[in-house]
Amino acid sequence: MAGSGVAHLRLGAEQILTVEELVVQFPTKGGQTVHAVSGISFDLLDGETLGILGESGCGKSSAGRAVMQLPPPTAGSVRLGNDELTGLNAQTVRERRARMQMIFQDPVSSLNPRRKVKDLVAEGPKIWGREVTREQIESVLHAVGLDPAVVWERRPHELSGGQCQRVCIARALMLDPEVLICDEPVSSLDVSVQAQILNLLEETKQRYGLSMVFIAHDLAVVKNISDRIMIMYLGKVCEVLPASSLAERALHPYTQLLLESVPDMTPPPIEAGTVAQRATGELPSPLNPPSGCRFRTRCPLATEECAAVEPQMREVEQGHFLACHNSGPGASGVA
């Protein structure tokens, strides 16, 4: 899986965000290196939503944060429109990345508990020395479904989790961003609130003309909101495909494992020998990731080639890219 390659980048198209060969590494005390993200590439078109899907430890959050330069990636390029964001001094980065805003998983802890909603929402523009009118704040609060008269003087602890997430979205919108990066924005919310926030993100995207990177571990949530989905495993990309193809046309053994692991409302009878039953073991350590394809230690299709040669992204059908030696049409091994 876990392949390299840039076949899935849409060169020549109008990209609002282009990430190439992004690498994020963290040194450990023992002189070792955590390979959080090992050379991933993706792009985002104007008005598109890219879903990044993966389990804990796959590097999806590290990738999202590296795009925001929080902290800057170890290597690789991040371009917002035509502006490169990496390798710049701190002040230039701050200026350029204001067009990108981020929403985090835990809405309560990402708000300053001592500030009131009106100040929280106005904080971004104030930092940039811009005038903020009461009307602007009220209009953005309305846009995220909060009644300004009710929440105006409240502090985060007086709001529910869903309301806090709405405040976070309002904060992001105040800076008039082009790209919204959402890191697990609904995973700490109840299903009824989750549905409200997903609907809100979809409406907001239309109304403000945003492009979105949506990072999450829940397959159905990602499918619901995305146009295109990128599946990550242990710092690498396995598969990139249109959201509408996720359930039926996904090919990578890891994507299959994810799909088969989802508890379903109407459980299909599981046939013997499906990927989920044959895939075993646990996530290898990112300190010392496997050679070749990083999924090979758990993959039922793994061959010797998988240990020796890292699979490259290749297009298997229109808009559907795969990094696997042994699955999909044109596989070199026996599928």
Binding site: S192, Q194, K223, N224, P267
Partner: protein, 349 residues
């Protein structure tokens, strides 16, 4: 769902030797500075050997308080009042007293909590966690207990059990820790296992492994399981019967297939519609439930879901509908109860 409703029917007569768990009109009232919260408000059911009852609900619905009250972890004291009865293997949990509870826990009933890290003592080795209850409840010496602990780890699918016994919890992954917690709770082959969000902290692939493990152990050991989860999918695939909780009460209960196939309570229907599904195309607008759960210090007088319910009528706010009323009125089939005056799918039986 009102007060003293009859015991929920549990499957046909053949299985009904004596239920492992009987919960009768259980109420847990938590005293807070803002007032008394009726966290569990009149819940009754029975659970037979080898069966799984799924309890689903959102945060604040009282499902975890219910689990802990059944367990006897919550009992009447300065901060709360518990009334009603809980019988586990014939023993009345809330009359046992401290020493009786210690005998009950770990032998007749085990519990698995959501967060496996905080359920384990970080300064004690895995082996100590496991041998503790073995040596307490059974006459085993150190060596026997250790050998049995290794067998338990083997049972829950942990490779190299001998080596793992000498490791500390932080040396294990989340999935492995949850397996250890399950091994602990199963050490003395309890008749009942209460699993409170056992897979919520875990990834989907690991979640599947843990749920499969519980399934297998249930087959092998014949225990009854109360599976508490906010994830309807988790419960749908694993439970024989399901109870949906809202604001401290059970609003609907039925066999899993009936409940998910043809829900009658508007809240159950709304929950199912709010969940994004893989078999839907992208960008489908989700049917969110408007509003928020009620303030439990002063909940609505009638049906507690009425303020958020799209089918609510004036009678909904007058008196709470009773859980078995629909069966009495002939609307529902036996075994499928719901507390609603204006049920959905009522004509579609």
């Amino acid at each position: 769902m009102n007060s003293t409703s009859a015991l929920l029917p549990d499957r046909p007569a053949a299985e009904q030797e004596s239920p492992v768990l009987i919960v009768d009109d259980l109420r847990t009232q938590i005293h807070t500075p803002r007032g008394d919260v009726q966290a569990v408000d009149g819940i009754s059911f029975t659970l037979g050997r080898g069966k799984t009852l799924g309890i689903v609900g959102e945060s604040g619905s009282g499902k975890s308080v219910l689990g802990r009250t059944i367990m006897g972890l919550y009992s009447t004291g300065p901060t709360m009042t518990v009334s009603g009865r809980v019988l586990i293997a014939g023993k009345d949990v809330h009359t046992l007293g401290a020493s009786g509870l210690r005998e009950l826990w770990g032998s007749d009933v085990g519990m698995v909590f959501q967060d496996p890290m905080t359920a384990l003592n970080p300064v004690k080795k895995v082996g100590v966690h496991l041998t503790e209850s073995l040596r307490r409840h059974r006459t085993m010496n150190r060596a026997q207990a250790k050998a049995h602990a290794a067998e338990l780890l083997n049972l829950v699918g942990i490779p190299e059990p001998r080596r793992r016994l000498d490791q500390y919890p932080h040396e294990l992954s989340g999935g492995m820790r949850q397996r250890v917690v399950i091994a602990m709770s199963l050490a003395n082959e309890p008749a009942l296992l209460i699993a409170d969000e056992p897979t919520t902290a875990l990834d989907v692939t690991v979640q599947k492994q843990i749920l499969d493990l519980l399934d297998r152990l249930q087959d092998e050991l014949g225990m009854a399981i109360v599976l508490i989860s906010h994830n309807l999918g988790v419960v749908a695939g694993r439970a024989d019967r399901v109870a949906v909780m809202y604001a401290g009460r059970v609003v609907e209960t039925a066999d899993a297939a009936a409940l998910f196939g043809l829900p009658h309570h508007p809240y159950t229907e709304a929950l199912l519609e709010a969940i994004p599904r893989l078999d839907q195309p992208p960008h489908v607008r989700l049917a969110a439930i408007d509003g928020a759960p009620p303030n439990m210090v002063a909940p609505p007088i009638g049906c507690r879901f009425a303020p958020r319910c799209r089918y609510a009528q004036s009678d909904c706010t007058l008196a709470p509908p009773s859980l078995d009323g629909a069966v009495t009125r002939g609307i529902a089939t036996p075994g499928h109860s719901f507390a609603c005056y204006h049920p959905v799918n009522a004509g579609g039986q």
